[in-house]
Symmetry: C2
Subunit: 125 residues, 2 copies
């Protein structure tokens, strides 16, 4: 299945690039001012994930956020870092700090999802 280039995809890709942080579907819909259907936004974002262009993270509020892959290897998204969500400006970002956990004996980890919510440098100033 070959991909085609469409205005919606371009717009969303540019938003993700410009944001330099993770965005949720509703943030994108707002910025697009209803020009693009909810469903289309989800489908574009999911397509980006399938193509290894972006990755999806489940926030501590239970919503999905999408961000362009940077340090992720092909086919192997790295999420072993903390995520930060600002309670004031809503910005979501990946922190440098890696998550370190030691599990009880016999346990094995498949995935890690760590969130810190609070106030970013801009908002706590």
């Amino acid at each position: 299945m070959k991909r085609r280039s469409t205005p919606a995809q371009q717009a969303i890709l540019n938003m993700l690039k410009a944001a330099d942080s993770a965005l949720s579907q509703d943030m994108i819909e707002q910025q697009l001012k209803g020009e693009t259907d909810r469903v289309t936004i989800y489908r574009v974002l999911n397509r980006f994930c399938e193509d290894g262009l972006a990755h999806r993270i489940t926030s501590d509020e239970g919503k999905f956020y999408f961000a362009l892959c940077k340090n992720c290897q092909q086919q192997h998204h790295t999420h072993d870092h903390f995520h930060f969500r600002c309670l004031s400006c809503q910005k979501v970002e990946c922190l440098e700090e890696k998550v370190k956990v030691s599990l009880p004996l016999g346990y094995s980890a498949a995935n890690v999802n760590c969130w810190v919510s609070g106030y970013c440098a801009n908002c706590s100033a």
Copy 2:
């Protein structure tokens, strides 16, 4: 507003005690075999939280889980530990290990929500 003792509340409280782990509304509904309404279960659980009897954690799947408070002080729920969710038996538990994060300069943390999903000792055996 004085609380009253009802069968639904007793049943749910006993389930939480017996489980010795965190349960979600749908797990409770299943065990109660539809004898109690969905809404009632949510209201009972929220009441437990208000009364400081239980606390609520948002899982990495975006659902709420409820667990009886053990080490939590009155009015001050401690969640600064990792949570584990078994992908096989669905069990959710609080790990001993505390979360340690250092945020970028100027950032302040209000809340921490850390999850590891994988296979527990029983299920990975």
